[in-house]
Subunit: 707 residues, 2 copies
Amino acid sequence: MTELADRTAGTEPGRSTTPAAGRPGAPEQPAVDVAALGEQLLGKWADVRRHARAVSGQPELHKIEGLTHTEHRRRAFGQLEHLVRHEAVHRAFPSALGGNDDHGGNIAGFEELVTADPSLQIKAGVQWGLFGSAVMHLGTEDHHRKWLPGIMSLAIPGCFAMTETGHGSDVASIATTATYDPAAEEFVIHTPFRAAWKDYIGNAAIDGLGAVVFAQLLTKGVNHGVHAFYLDLRDPDTKEFLPGIGGEDDGVKGGLNGIDNGRLHFANVRIPRTNLLNRYGDVDAEGNYTSPIASPGRRFFTMLGTLVQGRVSLDGAAVAASKLALKTAIQYATERRQFNASSQTDEEVLLDYQRHQRRLFTRLATTYAASFAHEQLLEKFDDVFSGRHDTDEDRQDLETLAAALKPLSTWHALDTLQECREACGGAGFLIENRFASLRADLDVYVTFEGDNTVLLQLVAKRLLADYAKEFRNANVGVLARYVVSQATGTALHRSGLRQVAQFMADSGSVQKAAIAIRDESSQRALLTDRVQTMVAQVGAALKGANRLPQRQGAALFNAHQHELIEAAQAHAELLQWEAFTEALGNVTDPGTHKVLTWLRDLFGLSLIEKNLSWYLMNGRLSMQRGRAVGEYINRLLVKIRPHAVDLVDAFGYGPEHLRAEISTGAEKIRQDEARDYFRKQRASGQAPVDEKILLARTTLQSKAARA
Amino acid sequence: MTELADRTAGTEPGRSTTPAAGRPGAPEQPAVDVAALGEQLLGKWADVRRHARAVSGQPELHKIEGLTHTEHRRRAFGQLEHLVRHEAVHRAFPSALGGNDDHGGNIAGFEELVTADPSLQIKAGVQWGLFGSAVMHLGTEDHHRKWLPGIMSLAIPGCFAMTETGHGSDVASIATTATYDPAAEEFVIHTPFRAAWKDYIGNAAIDGLGAVVFAQLLTKGVNHGVHAFYLDLRDPDTKEFLPGIGGEDDGVKGGLNGIDNGRLHFANVRIPRTNLLNRYGDVDAEGNYTSPIASPGRRFFTMLGTLVQGRVSLDGAAVAASKLALKTAIQYATERRQFNASSQTDEEVLLDYQRHQRRLFTRLATTYAASFAHEQLLEKFDDVFSGRHDTDEDRQDLETLAAALKPLSTWHALDTLQECREACGGAGFLIENRFASLRADLDVYVTFEGDNTVLLQLVAKRLLADYAKEFRNANVGVLARYVVSQATGTALHRSGLRQVAQFMADSGSVQKAAIAIRDESSQRALLTDRVQTMVAQVGAALKGANRLPQRQGAALFNAHQHELIEAAQAHAELLQWEAFTEALGNVTDPGTHKVLTWLRDLFGLSLIEKNLSWYLMNGRLSMQRGRAVGEYINRLLVKIRPHAVDLVDAFGYGPEHLRAEISTGAEKIRQDEARDYFRKQRASGQAPVDEKILLARTTLQSKAARA
């Protein structure tokens, strides 16, 4: 296990060299308790994360760069076996079968695998998080007994065959059919046309022996919607497709090339009736369909509900990757010197440049917000999947929360990896420093497991629905409250938001309320008000859309699609801000609390700055106050500067996770060697004279001669 | 050669299916003359571009995906030989040596190579654009005769050894030394410490036999600054480093893996005195230094001036890559259907969704602006390098223009490639559709040949300097004019900007002037005013900074670094907008003019929307007018929708350049097949009944029974 204390001590030379920071006799400067903050960031499943980090730190699991996709696939498969041996991937499975029934812990551990190799992570996710999970959650006891042991041990590598070439995020429209044949008591799995081929399916090109195939269940002339079926895909000995099954390799991808994604198609492939994973819908021998969930719509969403764990885990993995990038880039920026703005002999370290601070610290603040928000999401997920809080409403809240946070964190990871890579210049582009590699692998996180844009629209629809519900008996006092039901459900949120609503009701204007934009309640008021107002505005514009003829209704909706997505994003940002603020409440060390408050303020003010035009146009901020936002941000950057290394050290990743040449301190050694060389040269009196200085001297002399 | 007309005809099915667009009897709908627009986009060097596109369309030059970096490097080297055979790379060299003395044409042709393989492009750029170009521009006749033939024929593959591990964009600070030894009449090239190793040098790891090495020229105890020296690097037979020379392979990179980047270091390597490329500075046998340029600062910038062609060509290459991406993504979006918002049977094509239009059309507009701006830059470059307009001021204008445009276009290319990849979902992530591959290769374009952030600071400094110059005799009338000297120098710009200044002086307020934000003069007024005001504000804040003690002056400057870079970006955006507007003036076809005007307005309004908070905070737009900007943009999207395919067809790239599976029409075939299947099924009466519909029927029947 890596030791936080050691690493913290080791980074001391990277601390700020600005006078304000390290100067003795400046006692007002707070200090961050790195170990305690690190523990808080590890969250509820700290031990699982520590174990997973230890496993991920093992060289056998690390991505080797420059392999062909064929070699990389072989390596990744071998790594899955390694994970099985190290008991890193079975936590979610039933205790009876050797698991732990620990859903939250399972995801926490899974997320950390991204530091070893995102391909390894996602391939593990395909095998146990999707394929195995579908058998577990959609199947019943017989299925569990029959297939889970082989899935857990990797004896049956398998596929989660849902997506089709013609339909990605719109799962309800997939076209593969499973038609029940009562004579044979079999389902016939069939691909009616090219667009219905399963596509982008992990394990499909090479490794998959089994598959859970999603198809429209047809019996007695009725389509009961999408259901999941277990299917043998390949002969375990020859590894050839079984009769009626065909496929293609998806080939090289933009990243994640350790995974053998591929296409699958089925020509009237027959499977036993009992291969229907029948927890939420069954067909008896005669072909009669029954389901414990009467509504086909609700049934569909319940079955798809297991997909939420993919979104939850990507949210966490994206946060982890952002942390890796920021640790490397910020460490490097405290060592790297470039251009000598303030001295003839010494160049500035990059992190003392305002622009560099803005590039990195705003993303650092967002990463903290996303990290705390993710922890809340994970706890919510665990509440639902453990059955502790598992009502329909809980599940809907979980889905909405995941749909809100996953887009933000995955886009943020790409943005952060790219900004860090650029902030490290040419060195950032070398694979040995990992930014480009991680970015390529994480690219697809923004469109798989639910396209980010589609997910934000789901959030928007939920916001509109809640808004309509509240509006039925609306008065000004309750209007603000609908966001509360979206929040992560803590008392703090509720009271916080109620206070805001009250405050706004009292004062009549957020503008007046925002006496100091920097304080917590003002930030909350501004961020909350924006969500509420945007949803109310779109809600008003769409009022009656469902009473219009379908085409016109759709056109009206489409004319507000951009606003809707913006509103959903604003909502998700508010959730992140609330999570950060709630986490602040749990910080006991005063120094840490102070520094983290600056960071939270930077996050809040950056959100307000990003959407400043909205606040100005809608009269929420005066022109004067608007101009102050950027200045406040600049001041926060200076305050955060001395603590930047502490803040990334608290992430707790060691060299075995970072594995970036420029995070090893090599740059500092190089810089010191160069400065030492010039110092000695000057001391020796042998330093060459600069022609410019010579010219200046000559000019002076000739002036003197003339005088 | 590909034929525009054919391709245009072939894309007919992709045209909009919205009622407004294709409806007969809607004569007011303008049409784009794709062939004429295509010709305008090809610009002054249309024939060169056509030839280069024909060469780039040859399969021998195409990137093969999934190769190891070792294989890719071998292939790229072979491709350079292909380029030599096809006379694609010698246009800039002297006619006497088999070139054409055609600098603009050389860059135009070079830019198009990006469609074949960016590695091939940049490797060609290293060999002929940097290594060969340095010998040509910094050397004199003897050097030309001795080395250029071998460089042109690829008999001498070589390096441009400028960048060091310790210093990237700050070339003046490189630490390699070239010390003159009069006894031996030799220069001694030496690397004093690790940070002074040459790094990221193309051709250094494997192929380079020769090199132009940049080093501090020391003679008689004086450092005359950075100069270029020709050096033999490897034994042409054994390919081993010559004595005293060592190096390392930079290994796998985030992209451009066809290039063998590496590190070089020199231990007192001796070269003849005459290997100094002595056009701008020479040392006689006794060690006396002479230069035609007295000022060391001006000499340095003159020598580095040849680097501008790298920036010019990256600007053009980035625009070309953006065009490829948009053609593929927009074509696909006219075929791909997803979710059925307005009909039970038919799903919408993606391009009819508002958000999809916003994602793609705003970037399409920017690409047009960047394309027209690049053409102006290239003409300016040709004016200077041909010697037609080659004053110091011309060179400075060229440098500033390149430093302004290259950051915007290269960042835009990454943004566009990513947005297009996401807009195509999982298919966008497959390498067969090229977005991810191009994005990975172009990533480094934003930091090499001048880091984008550093370049924008150069622009900002120039803006401040011009501002200070104007200010010396300032009055309100001339205050606005300083931007003019930055513009691309046409009469239109000058009069345009003067009009604005006058208009603003007359009306006293841009806010009043912006009666309709949409019209050209209002856009110009808003965009110009922002640059002027930002520069004036920073200028005022920094006034007297150079009279402060150095450290305080630097701190003051640093406190405004973010604003400065924002101002430079605003300036560069204005240049793009002016270039687009000027290009509009050259469109004769009324339909094309109308559609391109919408696109220009979309570009202008998108810029205003992006910076809306500035306009509001500074009283340039009222709250009401501010809210109108987004609405105008949404209306423009709808207007542009029917012409989107024409606008990307005008780029003139054929399947041999696009080489994306989803740009082949395959999606339309799949969609048609699927729709046909369901149509036939419905017609046959054999279609399964949806359970939802059955439930609705049953409910109705039971209600009827009860009634």
